[in-house]
Structures are given as structure tokens and as C-alpha cells.
Symmetry: C2
Subunit: 602 residues, 2 copies
Amino acid sequence: MDANDLFDSSDSVRSGKPLAHLKTARFPGPIKLSTGGVLPELTIAYETYGELSSQKDNAVLIFHALSGDSHVAAHSADDDPGWWDLLVGPGKYVDTNRYFVICANVLGGCRGTTGPDSINPETGKEYGVDFPPITVADIVDAQRMLVESLGIERLLAIIGGSLGGLMALDWGTRYPDGVAGIAAVATGARMTTQALAFDIVARNAIMSDPNFNGGEYYGKDVGPSTGLAIARMLGHITYLSQESMNRKFNANRNVGRKIDTSFETKFSVGSYLAYQGGKFVERFDANSYLALTLALDAFDLGSDRDQLVAALRRSMCRWLFVSFSSDWLFPPFQTRELVDAALASDKRVSCCDIESYGGHDSFLLENEAPIYGGLIAAFLHNLSLDWSPDDAERRTALTESYGKGADPIRNRVDYDRILALIPPKTKILDLGCGRGDLLAQLKARGHERLVGVEAQEELVLKCVEKGLDVLQLDLNDGLKSFSDHQFDFVVLSKTLQTIKNVEIVLDEMLRVGTRAIVSFPNLGFRDRRAQLNAGRAPQTHQGREWYNSNDVRYLTISDFEEFCQKKGYKIFKEVALDSKTGDVVEEDKEIAGDVFIVVIGH
Amino acid sequence: MDANDLFDSSDSVRSGKPLAHLKTARFPGPIKLSTGGVLPELTIAYETYGELSSQKDNAVLIFHALSGDSHVAAHSADDDPGWWDLLVGPGKYVDTNRYFVICANVLGGCRGTTGPDSINPETGKEYGVDFPPITVADIVDAQRMLVESLGIERLLAIIGGSLGGLMALDWGTRYPDGVAGIAAVATGARMTTQALAFDIVARNAIMSDPNFNGGEYYGKDVGPSTGLAIARMLGHITYLSQESMNRKFNANRNVGRKIDTSFETKFSVGSYLAYQGGKFVERFDANSYLALTLALDAFDLGSDRDQLVAALRRSMCRWLFVSFSSDWLFPPFQTRELVDAALASDKRVSCCDIESYGGHDSFLLENEAPIYGGLIAAFLHNLSLDWSPDDAERRTALTESYGKGADPIRNRVDYDRILALIPPKTKILDLGCGRGDLLAQLKARGHERLVGVEAQEELVLKCVEKGLDVLQLDLNDGLKSFSDHQFDFVVLSKTLQTIKNVEIVLDEMLRVGTRAIVSFPNLGFRDRRAQLNAGRAPQTHQGREWYNSNDVRYLTISDFEEFCQKKGYKIFKEVALDSKTGDVVEEDKEIAGDVFIVVIGH
């Protein structure tokens, strides 16, 4: 690898010329802020992509992260690259042939929207220290003024990562009827203490730079470029991961690149940080950095579960939450807290924690785009379909424009029997839902509250493509995400035998559901008895041997019955199946049925 | 929790008065450094605890971490607390009634040993920028001069964490005959790129402080206290963990304590960092911080496996490696790399990755002390026993002074049979070795190369207490730590049935061993057939039901034989046992034997 390659980064490489497609919206003051401050006027710099439909039902608002701006994507081949070209553009995951995409620089920023380096019309000079403190709510309110000024009453979707994710959460919980769906990526209800601590150190570096001069540095020869560069270096570390930094810098660890800087360049990572820090001060304003990180750090959707539930309860949109396993700035557990809060008030929500090595920046990287981009594309498509549910012609047209045939629904011999056990309109949780085949059939039957749980991210994507709400969770951790009696039926079809923590999972099923439907292979089936009598371990799946089966539990119907008795579960129904024929077995069930389906409850 | 409690830290709370027991050793120059620099003289500040034995066989050298010093423990009840009082003292894990403990401030430090703030005898002023660059090797060489000056030719042990761990690695690989055992805690072969990056940002903060003045600030009114405080804040974050910070600060997140500081105190964690930063500049010198972190960052025992193996091959001591699951400054994978390198050249090594939430500082915290302290205590005791192996009287006296009866050796019905299959003097690896009962019996039989693998840290401790070498690893990850054909026999006794990745583990066993000895419960045993014929899943462990058994694999001897045939393993011996009587079953083995022991190979 050439040492120069190390200097590529997720920062867009800009030509430096003004953005040709930048638009501005001006709002006369006074603009009252949540902090008590007042702005004499508000200018918002924004860009749009695609066309707003005549029904105004295709507007997608994208929120950028801390150091981003309105240029989410290039407008043409010769335009400067955008920060999310990977996702946004004609035919891409956020398809600008289909959606009207809006992206605006945030309030308090320094890329065209009113911020500390803007001219205060009342003084004719930059605001500087007179720029009032702002909160995430103020930042969101500014975006909302823009959206309203474009004549859009309800957004199809908001997509935001990092700071943009906090903004999305704020919008969804304060202006619930203004948006049909929110995709919140790599974010959380508030900063972790560790993330807060890094921001504090960064601000201390800026404010203790003698050239900061209490924030009054505009028009002077030098500003707090040293402090701001140090802040950026620190930020950069938190955007990457242990592993991504090793991958990037290990090969040339001791080869610092010669660059024009007063910072240390001994190690390759040092010259990289010095370079990134130096580049950042050319395009970012220190007072903006302070204002925005203070807003970020003060944001707090709730410090405990009750507060989070209360916040999410106010929302009316569908939610898609995406986190990344290697993100330690907004670690996956924070997304999980949000998902759990949304579930507690029966919101429609899907989530996926994507296995990745890229850290927080994963949402800007190509590796993981097929999953998170695919999830966002499917989510947007489903939101469109839901917008006017009775307009069949429109739905057909949309489905065609989506371009992907939905994953076909496959039946399995036990599904028909399970479907027969489920009364209409009941609420169903399907554990280990796979690609969503059972849930899709229930959806077609008109069940409204359907939730799937699946561990594999590719299968989670298949479910979302089917328009289902699905959560990527490991069943062995229990069902902490769900409240007591939240479902009528909890289904565990052909999954019991793969679970290590059987008692936890079954107890949990009967906590969150009134009834549980469990299907499993019967070890006592005649062919299996014959196998053991011939000296071989019984097989529960053809072609799966003792050493490579996914199964870790083996049981007969009697074993399960005794277990239920011991646990105090009542058995309401037992169905034995011959899975070769699909027939229900009525006689000698314990010997003649190779699959059992059991309905249990308290 | 009172907000004031938040300000406790792992920093020792010192009275500020001079340390009453501080000793100094002076060495005339010129002292030549590895970097080409020369010191006109060397002063080492150190403390000792306990008495050096007449045979000089009980000296334990402890290396402190970056900001530590010689005061590892209080010398008496009214003495200032030491930084490792938890571990070191009369009757403690490092028992100063038994061991002669030495701890010295490092070269380049600022707590009595020659460093940048010492007076250069050639100029009569502080060294400042004239202090030559130093490496970890120079720091170690200074400690070695001290040890030699105390008349000690060979140390019983070196114990070092963090920077102290790097120093221990350096000593062990450069002066192999100078130490019988090394306990390297929370350390690695070199800094990760991420850890390096934090140090670089910290140094940039110091060096860009205008009061740093190129390092010439001694005798001036102000030094680079702002930059140094920022460096310390940053360091502090890396010593804690995501979780420990949340636990410490979440309850009073927004309650900043009022302290006299120019730094931000908005959040509780902010005022804590400001307080820690401020306290640090009172006791630490910025030039020392630069010199020591540069030495730390440049240390590199090897950038790939071959280099690491070459380095560890030079060592002659026994090794104990301890890491902590939540340590992200020196993450556990770094310790694993060192363990693997030591194993590759058949060094005697034990390791344990301790489940913890405290981050890098875990090795200074009480929670985990029973395990890591217990491991160190047992390790030291075993080193003593090994020192003069033929002196039976001495061994008895030592064992009595250890105070703990060693964990008794328990036999199991299959052990006698396995022992009978193992020829004398062969090299044995025992996978899933539990509390080391089989290995202890082999040790008593005189086998010299015995290694155990066990997942549970409490059992790892039991093994180390028996004087065994044991590695805490998860078998399902394979046996990457071991080289091809490193052992004569690899034993997997009653563990096969608990392993998910059967093929990987068995393939690996026959890669690292010439023969594998595998014992497992036979599913085809007559009682188990009867159970299934009666409609119940066969039990392989009494009292363990299908839903709570540790087993995840079920097999008969025929299954295993067929598997061996498929894999091309040869079966050299099969023994069927009746585990009720302990007798070998000769007839109808497949039906009459409930446990099988099989010897396989290529």
C-alpha cells in the first residue's frame, strides 16, 4: 500500500469552489430558540435532488453528521463528490429518480446556514461569542421551517446518522405527524459518558488555544487552528475502530509522511492525524464546533427506560434502527435501548446491528452498504406503499419502480398447521423468523401486529424487503426487548432445538405472549428410535450429522410434556406431523410423528 | 452517590510530604543509551519491602506504569498509600513477609530517578530539551543496574502492568537468565494504532501549549500545564472503559462540580477530568510525559508472529500473562499474541483473560483482585518451589508459608484409563482440563511438558495453584495458539460432547498432537437406548435434562468410528468403560460401555 493512500478518508474531497446547486432559504426574525436566545434572522443552505411528486408524498430529508453539510451527493458527474454518494443518487439505495431528497446544513454550522461565523445583521459583524447557545431541538426546528417553506406537510422519511440520528429522534418524538418513517443510523438516546468525555477534551483544546481569544478571532491573522486541529484528531480516532486503524496504519507504522505541519509526524497515524486536523481547520469554524458539540452533548432523550419509553411513545412513524458492531462512539447497546423503548409502546420498528470493522464511520463505508443501504431502500419502499394503502394502481407502479422482485414466500410443512392454530387479528411474535415466510403469510391474512426476531442480518434484510418489522436479536439473551403480554401468540418454529437457554426462552415467551406455539423435531419418532437401536445417534435433520447439526437440544414429546408440567405451563394443543406427507398423525403420535407442534400457556 | 465520590481515582492519595522510605542509588557516568545519547550520571529512586533471603532467591521486581512511581505499597499503617497496596504487603498476594520486593521510579520519570527535570551535573540546570531520547530498553537497563547493585544476580520474578508490562517483556527477552518468572499484566507487544494515536494527540496538546516553549519552561512562572492537563484527561479516558465511565458518572451526569479550573465543568465527567488534569500537573513533568510516551510508543517486540516468536524464544523464564476483557488500551488480543509466541517455542506459560468492566485500570481495582492477585500469588509460589527443586525441606517450608492448601486432586473414573494410555515422558496437551486433576497426576508421574486449556477463570486459577501451565481459551476458536506436532498426545476428556465446532477441534488436535485421546459418553449405551425406546431423550449425565445439559453433541461409538473414517483419522485403541464400576467392558462394548475412550491419529 502506498503511504499516500492512508490519507484517503471519509471526508469528501472537494474542489474548493462554491457548490453550484446550493440553495438558500431566508427566514426573517426574530427566531426564538429553546435556550431563550433569539436570532435576528435565519438563513438555511440546502440542496435538493430529484423531483417533489404532485402529491408531495416522496420527500426524504437527510440529516448530516457533525462536520457534514448539505452536499449529500453529487448532482452530476462533474459535480464535487457528496458525503453519501454511496447511498444517494439516481438508481441508488435512496433513489433520486423516485424520491425528492433534501439535505440542509445545520443551524450553528459553518457551511452556509446561520452559525457563529455568519454576519449578525444587527451589528454587521460575525456573531462570534454573541451566537446564542442552541440545542438539537433548535437545529431540528430550523430544518422544519425549511421543509414547510417547500410546501411539504409530511415527509415520507427522515434519514440521519450520528448527530443526524439524534436530530431524527428529536423530530420523530416532537413532530410525530410530520414524518412517515425514520431511519436512525449509528446513534443513541444521548452520548455515552466516554463520548461526552472526548467532546469535553476537544472543547478544552479549542478554548485553551490562546488564539481562540474567548471566541473573538474573526478577522484576525490567526484563529484557534491548533486547538481545532487537536479536537479533530481526537474526533477522528473515535470515528474509526481499533481494527480499522490497525488495518490502515500497521503496514507503514513508523513511516510518517512529510507534511507541512507543526504537529508530530513520527508515525504514519501521526502524520495522518496532523493532515486531517490541518485540512479540517480550512473548512470548519471553531465556534461552530463548540456550538454543535455542546448541542450534541446536551441532547438527552431519556436517562432511563421509562423516560425513553415516554419519548418514543409520542412518535407515530415507522422506525428503522441500524447500528454497527464496531461503533464505540455510539455503541450498539444504545440503539438497542431505543428499539426496546419503541417496542414498549408497540411502535412499528425494525433493527439491525451490522457486523463490521469500520467503527462509527461504517455508515459511510462501502463494505456494509449492501445491508444498511438495502435496509434503507426497502424501508423507504415500504413507506411509499403504506402512504395510500388503498391505491392499488400506485402500489403496482411503486413496486415496479422498486426494481427488486420481493423475496418469494416459501412454505414449510409445519407452517400450514401453525397458521391454522392462530386466530385472525391476533398479535404475533415470530422468534427465529428466518426470511419471514410465516409472517408474510400472516400479513397477507390481515394481521396487523406482526414482529419477527432473527439473528442473521441477511435474513433481516429479506424480512424488511417483505415489508415486515423485524429485530435482529440473539434469542439466547432472552426477550428483554418485549413487555409483558405484548402478543397473543409467540411462535418458535423449529428453533427450540437450536437454543442453549431453553428455560429462559420459554419462560420469556410466556411472559411476552399469552400463548406460545412451539414446533420441534421429535426424537422419539420411530425412525430415530430405530437409528439408536442400530447403534447410531438419531438424526433430526436429513444430511445433518451429530458433529455438524445446528441442533444442540434433543427431545421427545414426553420430555416436553414433563418439562411443561415441571414449569407449570399448560398444554392447550398438540399436533403431531408426518413431515414427509404433511399429514397430521392421529395415532401413536409419539412414535409416528416426526415433528410436534405444541401450544402452551399459563 | 455523593458527587464528591466521583473524584476518587486509582491515583494514590498522597500527603505531599517526601516519601520516608525512598532510597537512592547513584551510578557514575557516562551512561550510554541505546539511542546514542549519554547521561553524565544516573540516580535511581526506589523502595524495598521485606527482606532479601540469604540465598537471594526471593527478589521480586515490580515495574510501575506510565504515571506511577516507586511507592508501590505503604510501608506502615501511617505511611502514604501505595499504588498497589491491594497486591503488595505482608500476607497479601505479593507477600512481603516472604518476598523481597523492589520498585524503582523509571528512567525519564520525575519522581526521583534521573529524568528531564533532574539537574544536569554538567550545566547545573535541569536537562530540559537536552535530556536524550530514551527507549524502553534504556529504562530497563537502569532497573537492571539497580538490581545488580543490590547484589541480586537472578530475580525470582518481575511483575509489570501496562508500560511496566512492556518493560517486563523487554527484560525477559534481553536478559533471559536474570529472572525465573515474569507476570505481564494488561500489556502487549507494542501499542495498537489507536493507543498510539491517543498518545500522539496528547503530545501535540503538550507541545503546542505556548508555555511549553520547546521544553524550556523550568524556573519560569508557568509551564505547559494546560497541555499536560489535556494529555492527562485523554489518558484517563483510555484507562477506564465505556461501562466504568457510565457507572461512575451517569447518575449525576449534568452535575459538574465547582472546582478552580479554566477547563469546562458542565458535566460531572468534565469536572472530574478537569480535576484529574489539574492534580496531575502538580506531580508530573511535561517533558517526562513526552519522553516516556515516546519510549512507550516506539517499543515494538515484533510486528508479526515470526518476529514475536523470535523475541519470546530468547526468554528462559516461566510466563504468566493476564489481560482484562474490558481493556481497550491493551486489548486482550494483544496478550494472546504474546502467549501464542511464547507457546511456539515451548515456553512455560499460563494466561487468563479476566472478565471485567473496569478497562485498563482493572489491574488496580479490587473487584478482579481475587483472580489476578491469586494467579500472581500462585505463580510466585511455584517459582519459589522451582528455584531449588531438590531441596525437599525448603519446599515443605515454602508450601507451609504459602498458607493455602493446594486444591486436592480428584480422580475420575476415566482418568486411570487415560493415564494408562499415555507413555512416560510424553508431551501432553489437555483440552478442557478443568481444575487440572489429570494434568496434576501426569505431573506427579514426571511428565515435563504439560499444558492445559480451560475456559473458566476460576478453574484456571486452580490449575495455576497446582503449579500447572494453563491457558484460558475457548476451544471452539480452535487451537491457533499451538504449532504443528507440538505434543505427543492431545487429550479431550469428556469435553467433545460440549463442543459446537467438532470438526475444527478434532482436526486441530491432530495438527498439534501426534495422537489424540478422546473420551465421550456413548449414546448407544443400553440404558440410553432403553430411555429412547420408552419415549424419552437419552440422558448422558445423571440429573442433566435435555433442556439444561451442557452437552450439545450426542454420539455413539459407531458414529465416531464413521466420522474417523470420513476424516481419514486412524483409530489406534478403543476402550469402553462401565463408569459405575470403573471396569473396562470387553464384550458388547457398543451396548455395555457408557463411556468410550478412543486414541486416534493420522
